[in-house]
C-alpha cells in the first residue's frame, strides 16, 4: 500500500512486517526515529517481537547476537558512534555466522562530533564479514530490508542495510509498504538447521576457541561464503523479490550509463543529486552517466567491470575516506578494474559530515 511516510517510520513498519523475534537497539541520531517507532509498535500491541532496551549499543548488539543464536530473527539499528561501539560484536556476529539484520542510518564519526550524514561509519566495518547494502532512496531502503532478512537467512551471515542519515531517515516521501501476506510469502518462517542454534535437545558449543591449525581455514571459509553469496543467494533473492513484489532490486543502480563516457560512481542517496547533474551535463552534450553500488560487501567486482566497459573516465564520489590514502570506494573500484579496462579514475571526497552536495559542484567535477 502506498503511504506518505518518513523514511524511519517506513523502516520501522517494514521491519515489523518481517516478523522479527527480538529487536534491541539504543538511540542515536539519526537512527532514533526507527527505534522509537519500533518501541511504539510494540507498546501498541501491534508487534510480536520482544523489544529489549539496553544501556548501550554494545549491549544491544550482544542481545541480538544471543537472540539470533537461539534461532529467532533478530534486528537492530544504529549509526556512527553506535556502530563503532558495536564493532567488536559486529565482527563476532559474522564470525559466528548469525543471520541478524541491522540498519545503519549513516552518519559521520567523531572527532569533531557531527551528527550529519556521510558513510564513514559503515565503511569502517566493511571487513567484518557482513553483507552490506546501500539504499539510493527510501523505497529501496524499505525493499532492501525485506531482502536483507531473506539473504541473511539463506546465506547464514549478517546483513547491514545502509541508508543515509537525514537524507533518507528524516525525509517524507511516498512509499509502497507491501502487504503482510506478500512479505510472509517472501520470507516464510525462519527454519534453521538442527545444530546451528542453542538447543537443549541438541547441545552444541558456539564461539569455540580455534588454534592456529584451524583459524585461518575458518576465516577463509567465511570469505568464500560471503563471496559466493553475490551470484547465488543475493541474486536469487532479488529475482524472487521482483516476482513477489513487482519491484526490481539489483547490485548496481544506473542512470544513462549505456553510452556514457564519464561515469559517476558512489553509494547511497547521492544518486538523486547526481542524476540532476547528469541531466544538466547531458543538455550540454556531455555523455555522462551513473553507476551507483547497492552492494559494498561482497564487492560486485564483475558487475563493475561489465558496467564500466567503454567508459573513459569514472569519478568516484566517496562518502568515506581512509585517512592517509584516499576515498575508500576509490580504492575498491581501482581494485575491481585493475588489469581490466584502461579508465581514468578521479578520486573525490564529498559531503563529509553533512556538507551540502550541490548539483553545480558535481557538474564542475566533469
Amino acid at each position: 500500500m502506498k503511504k506518505l511516510l518518513e523514511g524511519s517510520q517506513a523502516i520501522a513498519q517494514v521491519v515489523n512486517l518481517c516478523r522479527p523475534g527480538v529487536i534491541s537497539a539504543y538511540p542515536i541520531t539519526p537512527q532514533t526515529h526507527i527505534v522509537e517507532d519500533l518501541a511504539k509498535i510494540a507498546a501498541d500491541g501491534e508487534a510480536s517481537f520482544e523489544f529489549v532496551r539496553t544501556e548501550s549499543e554494545f549491549a544491544a548488539a550482544s542481545v541480538i547476537l544471543g537472540a539470533s543464536a537461539t534461532g529467532v530473527r533478530a534486528y537492530s539499528a544504529t549509526t556512527s558512534q553506535g556502530l563503532l561501539l558495536m564493532t567488536e560484536v559486529i565482527y563476532n556476529i559474522a564470525g559466528m555466522n548469525l543471520p541478524v539484520v541491522l540498519t545503519c542510518a549513516n552518519r559521520a564519526v567523531s572527532a569533531p562530533i557531527n551528527i550529519w550524514n556521510d558513510q564513514q561509519d559503515a565503511y569502517s566495518v566493511r571487513d567484518a564479514g557482513w553483507i552490506m547494502f546501500f539504499a539510493n532512496d527510501i523505497q529501496e531502503a524499505v525493499d532492501l530490508h525485506i531482502l536483507a532478512f531473506k539473504v541473511a537467512e539463506s546465506v547464514g551471515l549478517p546483513v547491514m542495510v545502509n541508508m543515509d542519515g537525514f537524507y533518507l531517515t528524516h525525509t517524507v516521501g511516498e512509499v509502497d509498504i507491501p502487504d503482510q501476506k506478500l512479505v510472509d510469502k517472501f520470507l516464510k518462517k525462519q527454519s534453521r538447521d538442527l545444530g546451528s542454534f542453542l538447543d537443549v535437545k541438541n547441545p552444541k558449543t558456539f564461539g569455540y576457541l580455534a588454534t592456529p591449525k584451524e583459524y585461518q581455514d575458518m576465516r577463509m571459509q567465511l570469505d568464500a561464503k560471503i563471496k559466493k553469496a553475490k551470484n547465488q543467494e543475493i541474486k536469487k533473492a532479488m529475482q524472487e523479490f521482483e516476482k513477489v513484489f513487482g519491484r526490481k532490486l539489483s547490485l548496481t543502480r544506473e542512470y544513462k550509463l549505456k553510452d556514457a563516457k564519464t561515469v559517476f560512481v558512489s553509494t547511497g542517496s547521492i544518486f538523486g543529486t547526481t542524476r540532476e547533474a547528469v541531466d544538466l551535463l547531458r543538455l550540454k552534450g556531455k555523455k555522462v552517466g551513473i553507476c551507483n553500488l547497492n552492494l559494498l560487501r561482497p564487492f560486485p567486482d564483475d558487475e563493475i567491470v561489465k558496467k564500466l566497459k567503454g567508459t573513459k573516465k569514472i569519478i568516484v564520489l566517496n562518502r568515506a575516506i581512509s585517512l592517509g590514502t584516499e576515498g575508500i570506494l576509490t580504492t575498491e573500484i581501482k581494485k575491481a578494474l585493475y588489469g581490466k579496462h584502461k579508465i581514468e579514475i578521479q578520486d573525490e571526497i564529498i559531503g563529509l559530515g553533512g556538507r551540502d552536495i550541490r548539483v553545480e559542484e558535481l557538474v564542475n567535477l566533469v
Binding site: 529489549v52 550482544s62 544471543g66 537461539t70 533478530a74 567488536e88 542453542l198 537443549v200 558449543t205 576457541l209
Partner: protein
C-alpha cells in the same frame, strides 16, 4: 577418558585447566547441579579457553561464548529469543515474563524453559562487563549469573582486576621497593547486586561444593536476576600448591576474609559461621605466593593488619562468629 568417568556429567574431563584449578572444579559442580535443561553463556577467560577448544568442547549443555565483556547481554538476548519462541509455541510465559520487574515471586523450579546461566570470571564481571551486568540487573532479566572469582585476570597472566585484594602481588600490581602490591580494595559486587534489587545474591568458595550446589538450586527458584559469586583459587596466579586449592578456599571463608553468604531480597538469610578458633589472616596469606612479600617488610605487615581488620569487620557485619547473636541483617531497604 570418557568411559573412566563413572558418574554422568555435563562437564566432560579432558579440558586443559591447570591441575588443582578451583574454577573448573567448581564449574563442574555448578553445571551438574543446573542439569541438562540449561543454556550457558561463557565469558572469555580461563574457564572458556580451557573448555571450548574446537572439536574438544567439555560442555554437555548448549554453550555459547561471544566476547569477554558481553555475556550478560548475550544471555538477555537468549532469554528474549526463548521467550519469543515459546510465545509462538503457545506456551504460557506469564510466570517467567521478563517484565515482572522488581516483583520476583518465588516460583519454584520450572521444568520447561531452559535455565539461562552466565559463567564469567571476576575480570569479566567486576570490570569490563560491569555496565552490561548492571543493565541486566536493571532489566530484571531471569538469568542466573555466576561469577568465578579468582581475584585477577588469570587467563592473561595474573594481572590485577577490580576483584584483586589489598596487598596482592599481581603482574600489574607487583610488589617492590616502593610497592606492597595492590593498593586498592576489592570492589564490592555483592553490595552492588543487592543495591540493584537482585532478589537472590550469594557467595561461596571452591571448598564448599555442597553449599555451591544448594545455592544454585535455591537461586533457580527465584524470578529475575540472580547473582552468585564463588571464590575459586588459581594455582599459578595465586602461587599455591596444586593440592592446596580446597584448603586455601576454606581458609578464605573461615578467616572471615571471604564471607560465605546468602542474601534474599536484601536480607542476609544464611552465613557460614567461622570456627570457634577463628584462624588469623596470616594462615590464609602464607599459603600463597601473591602475599608472601607482605611478611618481609614493615609496610607489608601493616597491610596484613589491615587485611585482618577486614576479616574482623566482616565477622561483625554479617554475624559470622559461632556465638554471634542471630539478628536480621538488612542490606537493603525495599524500594
Amino acid at each position: 577418558m570418557l568411559q573412566k568417568y563413572k558418574k554422568p556429567t555435563l562437564f566432560y574431563p579432558g579440558h586443559n585447566a591447570c591441575s588443582g584449578c578451583g574454577q573448573n572444579l567448581t564449574a563442574r559442580h555448578v553445571i551438574n547441579t543446573l542439569g541438562p535443561n540449561t543454556i550457558v553463556v561463557g565469558a572469555t577467560g580461563c574457564l572458556e579457553v580451557t573448555t571450548t577448544k574446537f572439536g574438544e568442547s567439555a560442555w554437555g549443555v548448549p554453550y555459547i561464548h561471544s566476547l569477554f565483556e558481553n555475556s550478560a547481554a548475550v544471555a538477555t538476548g537468549i532469554l528474549a529469543g526463548l521467550s519469543f519462541k515459546n510465545k509462538n509455541l503457545g506456551a504460557t510465559l506469564s510466570k517467567v515474563s521478563r517484565y515482572d520487574q522488581r516483583e520476583y515471586p518465588q516460583v519454584g523450579p520450572r521444568a520447561s524453559l531452559p535455565n539461562v546461566v552466565v559463567l564469567a570470571g571476576d575480570g569479566a564481571t567486576f570490570d569490563i562487563g560491569f555496565g552490561l551486568l548492571a543493565g541486566m540487573f536493571e532489566r530484571g532479566d531471569n538469568i542466573l549469573y555466576v561469577c568465578f572469582d579468582n581475584e585477577g585476570y588469570q587467563n592473561t597472566g595474573a594481572q590485577a582486576s577490580g576483584s584483586s585484594t589489598l596487598g596482592a602481588d599481581t603482574t600489574t600490581t607487583p610488589s617492590g621497593k616502593d610497592s606492597t602490591g595492590d593498593d586498592k580494595m576489592k570492589k564490592n559486587m555483592i553490595a552492588f547486586a543487592v543495591s540493584q534489587g537482585v532478589p537472590y545474591v550469594a557467595t561461596s568458595t571452591a571448598a564448599y561444593p555442597k553449599d555451591v550446589e544448594e545455592k544454585i538450586k535455591k537461586a533457580l527458584e527465584f524470578q529475575g536476576p540472580k547473582y552468585i559469586q564463588i571464590l575459586v583459587p588459581c594455582i599459578p596466579g595465586w602461587g599455591i600448591e596444586t593440592n592446596k586449592t580446597v584448603e586455601v578456599a576454606r581458609l578464605a571463608a573461615t578467616t572471615g576474609f571471604y564471607p560465605v553468604l546468602e542474601i534474599i531480597n536484601g536480607v542476609v538469610t544464611k552465613v557460614l559461621k567461622t570456627p570457634d578458633q577463628k584462624p588469623k589472616i596470616e594462615e590464609y596469606l602464607k599459603l600463597q605466593d601473591r602475599y608472601k612479600h607482605l611478611f618481609k617488610s614493615e609496610e607489608g605487615k601493616a597491610v596484613i593488619k589491615r587485611l585482618q581488620k577486614i576479616c574482623d569487620a566482616n565477622v561483625e557485619v554479617y554475624g559470622l562468629c559461632p556465638t554471634c547473636e542471630e539478628h536480621e541483617i538488612l542490606m537493603q531497604y525495599k524500594l
